[in-house]
């Protein structure tokens, strides 16, 4: 029984040690640099998607908040990289990238919705009201002609 417990403890210690070595040696400076650059490029792509959505008339406040969180992680990742903390930097850069998963899809959906809403708004408020104003003028003119005709037919009495 004693030697089995000993073996179990030794195995666990070895397992923990191996896991620890794996984590410590997992990330090199090059890998970290690639991760940080990748996160940076991802942030730029997402920013451009947000700018497009805003240009289409979408409210990008929520998306900008997510980008700001990602930007914070990216800044911290860069600072950690320059101070040689590659593990921390790699994790922060990975978190930044993970935070932006599916982000461009959301931004694109917002852009498309905003474009549709803008088109509808243009049709109702610009085209609709302009056509309505012309209709009011024409209706007024027709009504005036009609009233004048009735006036003359009734012998100058309305």
């Amino acid at each position: 029984m004693g030697w089995r417990s000993g073996l179990l403890v030794c195995s666990m210690v070895l397992l923990v040690f191996v896991s620890g070595v794996h984590v410590c040696a997992a990330v090199s400076a090059d890998e970290t640099r690639v991760a940080v650059e990748s996160a940076e490029a991802r942030v730029v792509v997402c920013y451009k998607a947000v700018a497009d959505a805003e240009n289409a008339g979408g409210n990008v406040t929520e998306l900008a908040a997510v980008l700001n969180s990602a930007g914070d992680l990216l800044s911290q990742a860069k600072a950690a990289y320059y101070s040689g903390e590659f593990d921390v930097s790699f994790e922060l850069a990975s978190n930044c990238t993970a935070l932006l998963d599916g982000f461009t899809d959301r931004a694109t959906a917002l852009r498309d919705n905003a474009a549709e809403e803008r088109h509808l708004d243009f049709m109702v408020n610009v085209v609709g009201s302009a056509v309505g104003a012309v209709a009011v003028v024409i209706a007024g003119w027709v009504l005036w002609i009609h009233l004048k005709k009735r006036y003359w037919n009734a012998g100058s009495v309305v």
């Binding site: 730029v44 805003e54 990008v60 101070s83 085209v127 009201s129």
Partner: protein, 205 residues
């Protein structure tokens, strides 16, 4: 009763009705175009006012200020605020004259704060910082070790500031340069604006 007496009244009623119906379209067409596109950058003291800025700084003591950006560029902007530190003699950025002639400080950036700000929106962040430094009595200068900004430790080794004639002030300037991402060149450009905090590193006599 002559109907011609009511002609003006009728025309006025029709014109007013037409204007009312056309008002949504007119409100979009008769808008004065925006002609000034710019960014605001500000630094406020710990009470969120333009007063009580930290000045006398003690070693490892925390101080807070508010850094803010107001976007009036006409589009959602991607800003990078470069945090830099200098003494009295080191390179300072410029913020006057034509935008193209304004230059950032040549000193390296210690940290960059990113901010995405939608058009006509404001971004603000609390910055908590502390300095770690030593006083070299022989050379009468303060030698910096690190700056901790919002829990991120930044290396300041190699930075130093010499005391003034009476040795009562060891000035250092913590400053924040505003850079904005230019999608055309796919890079950041100095926006010609910076805010600076003059600090006196107190030393024990």
């Amino acid at each position: 009763m002559d109907i011609r007496n009511y002609q003006v009244l009728f025309l006025t009623a029709v014109a007013v009705s037409a204007l009312l119906v056309a008002s949504p379209a007119l409100s979009r067409l008769l808008v004065w175009p925006r002609t000034e596109f710019f960014t605001e950058l500000w630094l406020l003291g710990p009470n969120h006012m333009a007063e009580d800025y930290p000045y006398n700084v003690s070693r490892s003591q925390n101080y807070s200020v508010f850094l803010g950006i107001g976007n009036h560029l006409g589009y959602c902007a991607y800003y990078s605020v470069e945090v830099k530190f200098r003494n009295q003699t080191q390179s300072t950025p410029t913020s006057f004259g034509p935008l193209a002639n304004r230059t950032p400080s040549s000193l390296p950036s210690l940290y960059n704060i990113t901010a995405f700000v939608a058009d006509e929106k404001v971004w603000e962040r609390t910055l908590t910082f502390s300095f770690d430094y030593t006083y070299n009595e022989t050379l009468s200068r303060v030698e910096f070790l690190s700056l901790t900004l919002n829990d991120v430790m930044l290396d300041l080794r190699g930075y130093e500031t010499i005391g003034n004639q009476s040795r009562s002030e060891f000035a250092g300037y913590l400053f924040f340069e505003l850079w904005v991402y230019n999608s055309t060149i796919n890079n950041f450009q100095y926006n010609g604006r910076f805010v600076s905090l003059k600090l006196n590193m107190t030393v024990l006599a």
